[in-house]
Symmetry: D2
């Protein structure tokens, strides 16, 4: 049994983490902390082994630091930690006993999809990204799509066959989508959509497509639970859930 404490327990994600921890037979929820409820000290008092932080970047850095120094592992879903903060965290884990996982995405399917995209690009470098979201998502492309394009570009640099040069002729501007690192991204926005992304890889006579559909925030929970169970065996700072998946 692993003792778990949740920081930001009343937040949108935090409350779902609490429920997921309580649902799991190998985990015990022993501490719930939020702005107006409890304090970090409870993590020690309640003998927490793994803390989960879904707060915001400002608070998170302080929380993480505190946990590491007190020998408590931390699973961090908070986004926006700066490269400097990550460097400081890595340095601190080298001197203390607490391990840290910082992951921008805990949806295992999305993590697999992005990693597969990077691997596929090594052998099928011609690729495009189509991301599809509900019409209330104002920004385009999505952050995930830009990360995916970057992953494709990384894979492509190791590719034996070179990507085909674009013979662009847009009779209407924008038809060929956005370009990031020579990877085209197309953003669809429609009511009824939730959050979807498809990456297509083309080669002579064949197409490989990797698609992820997310319909509910609970898609993050299996990844969080997995991380809680594995973090004790992963010394130091790890960035990205993919490293816990062995791929």
């Amino acid at each position: 049994m692993i003792n778990v404490g949740v920081i930001g327990a009343k937040g949108r994600m935090g409350s779902q983490v609490c429920a997921a921890v309580e649902d799991d037979d190998e985990l015990e929820l022993v501490a719930e902390i939020d702005v107006d409820e409890g304090s970090l000290g409870d993590l020690v008092t309640d003998e927490v082994q793994v803390a989960v932080d879904f707060t915001h970047a400002d608070a998170a850095f302080h929380n993480i630091e505190w946990c590491i120094k007190n020998g408590i592992h931390v699973v961090v879903g908070t986004s926006g930690l700066s490269p400097e903060s990550l460097k400081d965290i890595a340095a601190l884990t080298a001197k203390c006993e607490g391990n840290v996982l910082v992951a921008p995405n805990f949806a295992i399917g999305a993590v697999l999809a992005m990693r597969f995209a990077e691997m596929a690009a090594q052998w099928m470098p011609d690729a495009e990204v189509i991301e599809m979201h509900h019409n209330n998502k104002v920004d385009s492309p999505s952050g995930t799509a830009m990360n995916t394009a970057a992953a494709i570009a990384r894979g492509r640099r190791q590719s034996v066959p070179a990507a085909r040069p674009e013979k662009l002729k847009e009779n209407l501007p924008g038809a060929r989508g956005a370009d990031l690192d020579n990877v085209k991204i197309h953003s669809v926005r429609l009511p009824g959509l939730v959050a979807h992304q498809e990456v297509m890889f083309g080669g002579p006579g064949q197409v490989l497509s990797i698609r992820h559909d997310s319909t509910d925030r609970k898609s993050f929970m299996p990844g969080v639970v997995l991380a809680i169970k594995k973090i004790a065996d992963r010394p130091g700072l790890t960035v990205g859930l993919e490293h816990y998946l062995g791929i």
Copy 2:
């Protein structure tokens, strides 16, 4: 049994039309005409009832005129006939016995897809078009995609609910695709693709998608055969195979 004559019989499409006619139990191929083989006069000599023209716009107009005046129906797959030519053809069919069908696309699935898109837009006006072609197709968007966007815009004008206004914010230019009549079009180009198009309609809690995949030019033949069999019952000039499909 219907006697059929093919004009442009040695061309890429013409030769396939000849084969399709020969394969059909209700049709008989009685005349094959090409630049250096036979002449329009053969159509009369060989008692052709329906001629099929897959030549080019310049030649086609003359061929069509000749057929109408000689009481021969003509199925025309040639693209590029001007509005004036079509007007002249319509006028001529009013005075003579030959009927004419001019169709930009004989792939029944594509014709259905475009018509369904127009109908769907009347009730689900929020729609986007994704067209996907092999990387040797230089132009974007495809002509079919632009025709489809126009069909959606037509349907939308009869829509009770209004289409949602775009809250555009492109962090990378082109992400949201091209815009034609307030319909977004996204063009994907990859080796391994042939010719594909998907139209997505979104509404609260639901998405309707209509997709057409074309993998071989023989997809046109059932539409041509259908037209040959029906043209005798369709007086005057008809533009578009959809009118023969009763939708």
Copy 3:
């Protein structure tokens, strides 16, 4: 402004109907009736012009009868009305002023998809249905899939080209799916899915696919609102929302 009354106002669907009516500028919610709240008499007192019934088959028949006799139109989403009940309702509407719409599905996208499937089958008779639902849906195939197969079979009977006979050889039983009226149905059940259906039509060199994805019960509301606004112009009993869509 149309005065609307909702019968079964506290139920899962009824409460959403109330919200949708209140949201619409042309509708006014004047009566909410449920088992322990109000009675049918309120519909008259509150001058309801259109009632909406999402109760259950037993209660619904009585409610509908009462509304018709009192000159109130009724939009019925209750399923399970017997053919005899429908016959009685039709007979009653012939003598009274209330119109009735009984619809098994108010999701406009689903209604369009099924109607398009019937139309497509007239020209592309080779078709299969793939329905995909969350793993808690125990029954297979879904009712919608069976209705869709029936619609395809209806369309196919008007088809010029005949459907290709099946050359079946299953090396593992069930591979080719279920068979309803010579239409194959495949049922996928996975966590993470909600309610999805794709119908594929194949012809030489081409495939036409019609897909509907439903992610939220609110997908029914635009159809209900549309029906409320149109029912006054549709005398007698109408079965199926497609007749209100003009397709």
Copy 4:
């Protein structure tokens, strides 16, 4: 420059291999052998470094044996070699200098798709396979689908979360597809399809889909060319192109 010899050079696959080798700047086609053209001895005379065999199982074993003994590497696309033959080949490579690659599939996209499916099943064990082929493919499920189901079952055995038990209730037999090792397989057969497969993985709130579309036999050629270039560095017998892809 690598000297290449093709055995079965006049066959359907062999002739395409010859063309692909001639197209590649780093390869030189120095020998073409077929039943009635040349003999294995030519491989030595022409200083072949890598032979490619796309013949049939009976002939292939003899060809492979001969090549190994003569220090010539062999890329084998022939299917149907028995486990005993493979064992003998492995033993022979241990004593001689020729390396061997036996691969059932050279389409890199298909090989990636199957390997990704195995990896994904370790984390998302609930999975189903939908394979779609032209209606002339009589057997169902396809061999690739059965291999994919086996790969999913292998991955699943390493999965932390267990696959959900099936709560089966087929109101029409076959609806839930075929079952191989607790993986459901659905086989669609329609004209217009070529060769397609989609594997869907479901988890709470998310679905991951991996799809491969093959439209032309030339999809095999990049994989064959890759194998020819890499085989000198892969001692002994290798079964499956995935091992050359480093995944």
